[in-house]
């Protein structure tokens, strides 16, 4: 949704890198390579804004999410939240800083401990950060949180398996809200839900953003959902952002060939458009992130690729024919979403 977002940057990554070493041997480990899951990502998130991150499996978007919330340690680079570099904090400072950035996980069936009551699950953040809410008020806070996400506060003593998938996702959202964070990273929050339940959760996330002034990083493979909820969108391919811009620019005027191929492959629920849209079918598979192509990483599947693409890595920057940053030497607008005459 496009409510006006301020210019205040709440989160910024600088050249964020995560390489997973590939090792051989159990006792005497030898590094024989690295999976370059996230390979130099610069992002900015403003207050009250939703930044969508899209890409196919293996593009590094889930690793990016884990880096942002501290589940993985970056190999290099910085994550600045309110002027503090999270990667340089430790101990009490890190714990305190972490309160400000929370996450909603993909699978509502596995993200809640089946042996804890809903009250214990949503109240756990208060156990870990006892300074946030005095012990006597915790139960009341949990009830308020349940109410906030549209669940009955009376159900505080129930167990997760007594709830449906959509309700469980609401519990996960309530847990993420408990410490009153400014930033929430949503990793595929609706992809495990049924179609008729997805809209409920999307609308809930939008309402909470309006009411609480939250900033979202919304990671998803479903480009239609991202268009609906995001203000700006970053497209990732093999660990790098290849194109970034406001939602309208990316969907209406994409300039990177990968974005164009991705968008053209998304089916639109309107049979009158069948065969009317510009369809780009990519050949081959995504190369291994352990051994990405030289230069532009998309060149092995790109129909525009020339010699320069193999030698020179295109920078993510605005170009002559691209008003927004696009990492392609030959960036050029092509409408693949609407019917072409």
């Amino acid at each position: 949704m496009s409510q006006p977002s301020s210019n205040e940057v709440v989160l910024e990554t600088r050249d964020l890198v995560k390489h997973f070493p590939i090792t051989r041997g159990i006792v005497f480990q030898k590094k024989i390579g690295a999976v370059r899951a996230v390979d130099g990502v610069d992002l900015q998130l403003r207050r009250g804004e939703t930044l969508g991150v899209v890409g196919e499996s293996g593009c590094g978007k889930s690793t990016l999410a884990k880096l942002l919330v501290g589940l993985e340690k970056p190999s290099s680079g910085a994550i600045n939240v309110r002027g503090q570099d999270m990667t340089r904090l430790s101990g009490g400072e890190l714990r305190k800083a972490r309160r400000n950035i929370q996450m909603v996980l993909q699978d509502p069936y596995t993200s809640l401990n089946p042996r804890m009551t809903v009250g214990d699950i949503i109240g756990e953040p208060f156990d870990i950060h006892p300074e946030v809410v005095p012990a006597g008020e915790r139960k009341q806070r949990v009830r308020e949180l349940l109410d906030l996400v549209g669940l009955n506060p009376e159900h505080i003593n129930r167990y997760p398996h007594q709830f449906s998938g959509g309700q469980r996702q609401r519990i996960g959202i309530a847990r993420a809200l408990a410490l009153r964070p400014e930033i929430i990273v949503c990793d595929e929050p609706v992809s495990a839900l049924d179609v008729s339940i997805q809209a409920q959760v999307i609308n809930l996330l939008e309402r909470l953003q309006d009411e609480l002034g939250l900033s979202y990083i919304f990671i998803a493979h479903d480009l239609s959902v991202v268009r609906h909820i995001a203000d700006r969108v970053a497209v990732m391919y093999l660990g790098k952002v290849v194109e970034i811009g406001v939602e309208d620019e990316i969907y209406e005027r994409p300039t990177h060939p990968y974005t164009q191929a991705l968008l053209s492959a998304v089916p639109v629920p309107d049979p009158t458009l069948r065969g009317q849209r510009d369809q780009i079918v990519l050949e081959g598979d995504v190369p291994s992130p352990a051994n990405p192509p030289s230069g532009c990483r998309f060149r092995t599947r790109c129909w525009k690729a020339q010699d320069v693409c193999a030698t020179e890595e295109p920078a993510l920057a605005p170009r002559d024919r691209s008003a927004h940053p696009s990492a392609c030497h030959f960036a050029e607008v092509r409408d693949v979403v609407h019917a072409v005459e």
């Binding site: 809640l112 401990n113 042996r115 003593n157 007594q162 309700q167």
Partner: protein, 312 residues
Amino acid sequence: MSNIESVTQAEVPTAAGVPVSPDGGSEKPRSLTGDAWEDLRRNWIFWAAAVLVLLVVVMAFFPGLFTSADPKACALSRQHQGPSGSAFFGYNFQGCDVYARTIYGARNSVLIGLFATIIAGVIGLLVGMAAGYFGGWVDSLLARGVDIVLGIPTLLAAIVLARRLSADPQDSGFWAVVFTLGVLTWTTGARIMRSSVISAKSQDYVAAARMLGAGSGRLMFRHILPNAAAPFVVVLTILLGVNISTEATLTFLGVGLKGDEISWGVDISTAAPYVRETATPLVWPSVFLAMTVLAFIMLGDAIRDAFDPRLR
């Protein structure tokens, strides 16, 4: 049509806010344990096993409830007498009441099984959790340790160990057997614990807790252990049965309980040479032993099925 009201109303079909719970709308909170209990309640195997286990435990602690005869009051004049009203299972070679001895034998058998299993359980739990949770070189080291213990032929090692531990002829051999069994049988439990800790560790809810800043202690004891314990507990119930029968084996081989201690193992070993003359002194302790072991194994099996989340 889309608005905030419809969101708050979402999935709450009635004004009272009764959620559509997938298991049939019963309103009281039910845990997994509660569900497992529902399952077990209707399982006759569980009940049969539970009744047998209870019976044996009562027998172990209050043998006087079952017999007024003294198991140590033996008279050679009654040697190999058949069953009668006063001695249901007859008399053995030494003229002792087989029924009374079998009842009194339960105590040593069950207690040895219990203590040995507790030792094995503690070692297995610690090793399995450490290996599974910390991984890396800790895991490699502990895994080799488990392999080494597994590689030792249990019975052979037990014979050597039990004999060394109870070299003193005055010693009953009770703790020697307990310790021997405990240190030799923890490996299965450790392996099970390790693998279930590893699978529980990778669950999303553990990641969620880590994200909130939870420390190792909270992760291990609040999130991982409760979700990883079920298979381990089942292995222990089975191990309990196995330990009871191994005690009998050791005693039969002459390295277990000694002197005038009473246990099923002792009775089986003393009755074995005379099986051609009269079988009852051998048969009854064997039947009790077999039934007890079976009861513990069946109980473990039933509990495992009830706690298996894949069946929900």
